[in-house]
């Protein structure tokens, strides 16, 4: 037996080699899985140094479809970026580059090039990538709007600094300041409006990081459609996230009862009950933004347009009540005030009246009913006693 093996050893060697080649071919023909851990830099793959040897030349560009695509990478800026500090290699993202010459560019424009490349982000940023799939941007892109933002439009992968704490995932101090500027790249008209609002001015002029930026209302990555009924109907709760927060509001001396006073009023009651039962249906009752504005929210005591002034508030009322011409009509809404002897005294005293009147009337009734019940039981007992004695 062993002789036989020895005699055929060379043949086994050949068979093993053939099997090895076959397996290699099978492996190579398997489809590459796109979602994988960051690829390991392999020996035959170019290192960052190799890439930078060329790509840190100033002014490198390539013409794609007649438009220039910048090719220069500032090595210093890249190594300071979050990808640089995490030692992400060029070819980890530029997965099709294995050496020089590079494969031919298939994109028809620099924009097309970005659109072809951005799905590599999901290799590492799976969660964010999948959230984006639900966003307005992705829907617009799917509908053929190539201007719709993809990952790299907000996060330049070569320069993006760390935005969140690595351990907690919370936004770093300072990160909030750049959010509106990032969105402004495409939504500049809104940004210009926002800068003039009470929130935007505090952020852009005072560096106040506690005021809402774009993402606090619109979300991040899975940005929803802000024109949807669902979004509008949930607005009161959105604003209440901050405006019922005692710690936050204390800094500005703003009341935290804005939601409770809204819900206890006619409009708020309606919207609340409506939102509970039909969150995705339209209602014509006002939410916060209908009176306060959206990106142009001003302080209510703003001298020109602050809605603490009846003349300004009436304009808001007339959006839905065009027949209301008397400024006194604005008092039919209590402007988030809790009634007190000083503010809306009539409402206060009506409430006070019923606070005593209801218990007084009902208490009297209950008292009389109880005495009647007592008498009936007493009579029955007396009858029973009389009956047994007889």
């Amino acid at each position: 037996m062993s002789n036989w093996i020895n005699a055929h050893r060379s043949q086994f060697g050949l068979a093993g080699l053939a099997l090895g080649i076959f397996l290699l071919l099978v492996l190579m023909s398997l489809p590459a899985t796109p979602v994988a851990a960051a690829p390991q830099a392999q020996g035959d793959k170019p290192t960052d140094e190799t890439c930078l040897a060329c790509h840190q030349q100033a002014g490198m560009t390539v013409q794609i479809g007649g438009q220039p695509l910048p090719l220069t990478i500032d090595a210093g800026v890249f190594s300071a970026s979050v990808h640089g500090t995490e030692a992400i290699a060029c070819v980890d993202c530029h997965t099709n580059i294995t050496g020089f010459p590079h494969p031919a560019v298939t994109a028809s424009s620099p924009r097309d090039f970005s659109l072809e490349l951005y799905p590599v982000c999901q290799q590492c940023h799976t969660e964010q990538y999948e959230k984006v799939l639900d966003s307005v941007h992705q829907r617009a892109l799917a509908a053929g709007n190539t201007n719709a933002a993809v990952c790299t439009d907000c996060h330049n992968p070569h320069t993006q600094a760390r935005l969140t704490n690595k351990d907690t995932g919370k936004l770093l101090l300072g990160a909030r300041l750049v959010i509106p500027q990032t969105c402004a790249k495409c939504h500049n008209a809104i940004y210009e409006t926002y800068k003039g609002s009470v929130h935007g001015a505090a952020l852009t002029q005072e560096g106040n990081q506690y005021v809402p930026t774009c993402i606090d209302c619109h979300g991040v990555h899975n940005i929803g459609d802000p024109t949807s009924n669902t979004f509008r109907n949930s607005t009161p709760y959105l604003c209440a996230n901050c405006h019922t927060n005692e710690t936050l509001m204390k800094q500005y001396g703003i009341s935290t009862n804005v939601l409770s006073t809204y819900v206890s009023d006619f409009h708020g009651t309606t919207v609340k009950m409506f939102e509970e039962n039909y969150p995705d249906q339209p209602t014509n009752k006002p939410v916060c933004t209908d009176c306060h504005g959206v990106h142009d929210i001003l302080k209510v005591d703003h001298p020109d347009a602050g809605i603490a002034f009846k003349r300004n508030l009436l304009v808001k009322c007339q959006q839905c009540h065009p027949d209301a011409t008397a400024e006194t009509f604005t008092d039919s809404w209590m402007s988030h005030y809790e009634p007190s002897p000083d503010v809306f005294p009539l409402v206060y005293y009506v409430n006070l009246f019923y606070k005593f009147f209801i218990p007084a009337v009902l208490g009297g009734m209950i008292l009389f009913v109880l005495t009647d019940v007592y008498r009936r039981f007493a009579l029955r007992r007396a009858h029973a006693k009389g009956g047994t004695h007889k």
Binding site: Q56, G59, G268, T270, C320, T328, D372
Partner: protein
């Protein structure tokens, strides 16, 4: 009561009165059920109930409809009340009197054992009068405040706007009072204490009459209850009353119509004004990634890259470094063998070229065959590969002495 003959009964409520009661019962219950969820919008029960009735808007429609029914019922009651009082000369036995106070006090004393007999009462006991007049009070308050909420714009024309939230407060407070009073007073007095069916049968037995309305029973027995009316006088009063009743009816119907239709804007769904916003207003023509650092970004990021002059250099007739060779080498070689000097070789200036790279000189003037640059290029496949024509020019330039100028 040992005899088997049916005991004598007395008519307590004619059919019209019973229908009136049914109308009030239904409208009151509907108003309470559709009103209280609006007063307590946070309660899960409210939300579930609102959903059951098809949402808040449809709940309000039902509430408004029930209010209209109650108003019409009240108008009918007023007309009938006038007829009975003026034409039929019925005793106004529902009017409150000092005797009711005394009866109530005595009933209380009797209940707690401080009086040895209950009060003797007539057609309407003090309990029934209390409920009736509480209903009258409630109807006035609810009607007035309901009007203000239903028609806030009209109201604000005559009264300060503050009365509208005040009306809402009163409407809610009164509603709680009314519903609970019905549950406590009416339920106990008419359903629990003794199930009183007279509002449905219209009849009361002699025993019940004796027990609850002894004075009325005594009046009936004495023949004082149904005094015959003089037909002539009756007809005369009818002739006076009917025109008045018609005018009053029209007036009240007009009032209800006005109540319901005084204004529209606060009720009908008018198209909401949606501000239009220009969404896509890019700061740069295309949202291509810019080369500026994201942190901190510039106010208006602009492309920092300026396209290099990519027009092909025209071959110079004078084969010198300055004349043609520099321009020939830069586009192809400059990316790697420029400032970054890959392999130590920098082809930017004449001096750099002549110095060579890590492997030594690349140009040997007069000897292109042994010049490394030519050898590399002729071997082909170099990352920055020159065309054969360009290589020929280089060879010519080297063999001519590789002059700078």
């Amino acid at each position: 009561m040992s005899n088997t003959t049916t005991p004598r009964t007395y008519e307590r409520f004619p059919l019209a009165r019973r229908i009136e009661h049914l109308i009030m019962l239904l409208s009151f219950t509907t108003l309470g059920l559709t009103g209280l969820p609006q007063k307590f919008p946070d309660a899960r029960l409210s939300i579930a109930f609102v959903n059951l009735l098809g949402g808040i808007e449809s709940l309000r429609t039902i509430h408004h409809f029930a209010a209209m029914v109650m108003m019409l019922g009240t108008a009918w009651h007023i007309i009938v009340f006038g007829y009975l009082g003026y034409v039929r000369r019925t005793r106004l036995s529902m009017l409150p009197s000092l005797q009711d106070m005394k009866d109530g006090w005595r009933a209380l004393l009797y209940n707690i054992g401080l009086a040895n007999s209950p009060p003797q009462m007539g057609r309407y006991t003090f309990e029934e009068k209390l409920e009736y007049w509480a209903f009258v009070w409630g109807a006035i308050v609810m009607g007035a405040t309901g009007f203000m909420m239903w028609n806030p714009i009209t109201t604000a024309k005559f009264l300060p706007g503050e009365v509208i939230p005040a009306a809402k407060a009163a409407h809610g407070g009164e509603a709680v009072l009314a519903v609970l009073a019905i549950i406590i007073w009416h339920m106990y007095g008419v359903h629990i204490k003794r199930f009183n069916k007279s509002m449905w049968t219209g009849q009361m037995t002699e025993g019940e009459m004796l027990h609850e309305h002894p004075l009325e029973l005594a009046d009936i027995k004495a023949g004082m209850a149904d005094q015959p009316l003089d037909p002539a006088a009756l007809r005369k009063r009818q002739r006076v009353y009917f025109p008045i009743a018609i005018v009053l009816t029209l007036f009240m119907l007009g009032g209800v119509y006005g109540f319901v239709n005084a204004e529209d804007t606060a009720l009908t769904t008018i198209e909401r004004q949606v501000p239009t916003v220009e969404v896509f207003v890019p700061q740069t023509p295309t949202p291509a990634p810019t080369q500026t650092p994201t942190l901190p970004p510039t106010e208006t990021p602009v492309p920092t890259q300026t396209a290099v002059d990519s027009t092909p250099s025209t071959p110079s007739s004078t084969l010198t470094w300055d004349g043609a060779i520099s321009a020939l080498l830069q586009p192809t070689c400059g990316a790697c063998h420029g400032a970054s000097a890959l392999g130590g070789l920098n082809l930017s200036t004449y001096a750099d070229v002549m110095r060579g790279g890590a492997s030594g000189p690349v140009i040997i003037p007069g000897d292109s065959t042994n010049s490394l640059l030519v050898a590399k290029q002729l071997a082909g496949g170099h990352p920055g590969q020159l065309t054969p024509e360009e290589i020929a020019q280089i060879i010519e330039w080297i063999d001519a002495g590789a002059l700078e100028k």
